[in-house]
């Protein structure tokens, strides 16, 4: 790329994590372009230009890219790893190039160690110093933790707030301020401040609410638009929603696996006797988590995945058996670009009714 042109970088949305990765993107480019929030139009665009059998995240990402390119971005970033995800980059690049866009494509597939990441950045912008990269990495990580912590609290309590909409308002303010905060200390202070604010919001929580765990595939778990705000829907019904997969938890697991390689073994041990081997990507974790939640006394589990997701389909055969053996309610959702929202709402409602009845029935005995 010539030096005269302005570098504008962009990357696809996933939940609220745009805020967290923004400092890293700012390192290599003069301007960071936020793709417009995911909407029906985004999906339409992505869907039209994707191969038909590919899983949904591909379509969403492609839609994000097209919209970002329309806004003038000329560097795109794609991460990768696990199952099909690691191969997204190359295919998406080919599709977009064929559509006539001009851009540079940065693929970070399978290079998650900080050193490899730093090398990738320096390849794009050679004058970058390692100190700067380190600073941005830490800042990103802090912001990540910040988001995950507050979202976890919001998720568990949003169903019980006394005045509707307070949590959402506070959370939006928080994200806006976070985007402006650039120092490590600032992020730390912000986190404290907002956790206090969130905790101060009055809630009206019954002693033993229904507790539901959400497990499944990463992208649809973390991108609320792709799962039709399933978590919000649940919370509205007064259910405490627990989700364990966040970007920081994934990073933690990856690091653990890289340094000590004990994570996988632990997961497989937990999911014995249903699994003997690793299922690929996040499948094993779904099974292990399900078993753990059953033992913890949860009321139900929701398993979500994009249509045709290979590792999660593998996990499903084990989950079916677990559900049968423990007589435990598990509901499966699979999302495609065209699944209808009402159908999902109806099924959720039925699931909720069933859980309530089961709980009442158990209490009588």
């Amino acid at each position: 790329m010539t030096n005269t042109s302005v570098k504008k970088i962009s990357f696809p949305h996933m939940g609220n994590y745009f805020t967290a990765f923004e400092p890293l993107a700012r390192l290599v480019a003069d301007e960071v372009i936020e793709p417009p929030p995911i909407s029906k139009q985004t999906i339409e665009l992505g869907y039209k230009n994707s191969p038909e059998c590919v899983c949904v995240p591909f379509k969403y990402n492609l839609g994000n890219y097209i919209e970002a390119l329309e806004r003038g971005a000329n560097i795109l970033v794609q991460a990768g790893g696990g199952c099909r995800f690691g191969y997204y980059g190359e295919v998406q690049e080919a599709i977009l190039k064929k559509m006539g866009y001009k851009f540079e494509f940065l693929k970070l597939a399978n290079s998650y160690s900080p050193i490899a990441l730093a090398k990738n950045f320096r390849a794009l912008k050679p004058e970058l110093s390692y100190a700067k990269i380190f600073r941005a990495l830490v800042l990103s990580y802090l912001r990540l933790r910040c988001i995950d912590d507050s979202e976890d609290y919001v998720r568990k309590n949003i169903g019980f707030e006394k005045q509707k909409g307070e949590f959402e308002k506070a959370h939006k303010n928080f994200l806006r301020e976070l985007l402006k905060t650039d120092s490590w200390l600032g992020v730390h202070k912000l986190r404290k401040k907002y956790l206090n604010i969130l905790h101060a919001i009055p809630i009206d929580k019954p002693k033993k609410p229904l507790r539901v765990g959400v497990v499944g595939e990463l992208y649809v778990l973390m991108e609320p638009f792709s799962n039709f705000q399933i978590e919000k829907e649940l919370a509205k019904k007064g259910i405490e929603v627990h989700r364990f997969v966040t970007v920081s938890s994934i990073l933690h697991d990856c690091l653990d696996e890289m340094l000590f390689s004990r994570q996988l073994r632990k997961l497989i041990r937990e999911s014995w006797p249903y699994l003997k081997f690793h299922l690929g990507a996040h499948g094993t974790e779904s099974v292990a988590k399900t078993l753990e939640l059953i033992k913890e006394g949860f009321d139900g589990i929701i398993h979500i995945k994009p249509f045709g997701c290979m590792p999660e389909v593998n996990a499903m055969s084990a989950l079916h058996k677990i559900s049968k053996d423990y007589e435990f309610p598990i509901i499966y959702f699979s999302f495609d670009a065209q699944s209808s929202e009402t159908g999902i709402k109806t099924r959720l409602e039925a699931f909720h009714d069933m859980l309530t009845m089961k709980k009442r029935h158990d209490a009588k005995q």
Binding site: C53, K97, Y274, K276, F277, G308
Partner: protein, 298 residues
């Protein structure tokens, strides 16, 4: 699932150990029906067929031999379906006795050790096991060489016949229910077929870099390499994929985008396919190729 690629190897190996090998029959309606009922409804067709076969075998044998092949080269792996095959089977059928071994090269679990441990369960004579592995390897190698030479002769021979390259996994191409109808039909049309799965693996892996640099599914890599190798000598390409195959869905799209000089048709198979529609598509594809070739000669 990989039976069509390695069956000489595994059969010879088990037979050399003095075991009786029962092979399930070619796929038929009944097997597919059973498999569809047993499998999670979003699994790919190949997996459903596999479960159907296991179901057929489970009462007839003492052990079912299920190899688990995760990765054959560094930084590459197979479709995650192969990784989970054992666990899926174990969770679908209760109390099934299996013989299994794992091949995972990045962590130094080579197939030699795996096979040895399988052999150890059957006989405690290490020399017998080693002999069995060597014999099996030889049988497999012979078979591959034979196919390769056959294909190369085909390519050298007559030049003016219509040639079509079939790109699909061996478990699709040679399956009696999936690939065989297509192949028979094309042969009846007087088309010469070149199979992408018959290729020198090393060469193919090198050539695949021309089309795709990041590809990390070993079998797809070999197919793409073969595509690159044979594309100058054929008139058209047929991709066959089973619905909804994960790796293929991406790789085929990439190939469609990167290969612009040849007519391509993608055929997606599922358990409900109608034969008439398939035949019409193939016929029209062959006609297009014939017209194209006629023009080129003029």
């Amino acid at each position: 699932m990989l039976y069509h690629k390695y069956h000489f190897f595994w059969e010879e190996f088990l037979r050399s150990l003095g075991q009786e090998v029962v092979v399930s029959p070619e796929t038929n309606r009944e097997i597919i029906g059973k498999g569809v009922n047993l499998a999670v409804d979003e699994s790919c067709l190949s997996l459903k067929i596999y479960l159907g076969h296991v179901d057929y075998l489970k009462d007839k044998v003492d052990f079912i031999f299920i190899p688990r092949i995760v990765s054959l080269y560094k930084k590459e792996n197979l479709c995650v379906k192969f990784m989970a095959l054992n666990d899926i089977v174990r969770n679908t059928f209760d109390g099934l006795k299996t013989l299994e071994y794992t091949t995972h090269v990045p962590t130094f679990r080579y197939d030699y050790f795996g096979l040895f441990s399988v052999g150890w369960q059957l006989t405690h004579n290490p020399f017998l096991i080693i002999r069995a592995i060597e014999r099996a390897r030889k049988a497999q190698q012979n078979q591959q060489d034979k196919l390769l030479i056959e294909q190369e002769n085909k390519l050298k021979d007559k030049k003016d016949d219509l040639r079509i390259l079939i790109v699909a996994h061996p478990y699709t191409t040679y399956d009696a229910f999936l690939g065989a109808p297509i192949i028979n039909f094309l042969k009846k049309q007087g088309v010469e077929l070149v199979f992408a799965d018959i290729v020198n693996e090393k060469e193919a892996r090198k050539l695949s870099k021309n089309i795709s640099t990041d590809l990390y599914w070993t079998y797809n890599k070999e197919l793409v390499g073969a595509l690159e190798k044979y594309r100058k000598e054929v008139d058209g390409i047929i991709f066959i994929m089973t619905f909804p195959c994960g790796p293929d869905s991406l790789v085929i799209n990439l190939c469609q985008n990167k290969i612009n000089d040849l007519p391509i048709v993608v055929i997606t198979l599922d358990e409900l396919q109608g034969e008439a529609g398939l035949k019409t598509r193939l016929e029209s594809f062959v006609d297009i190729l014939k017209i194209r070739k006629g023009k080129a000669i003029k």
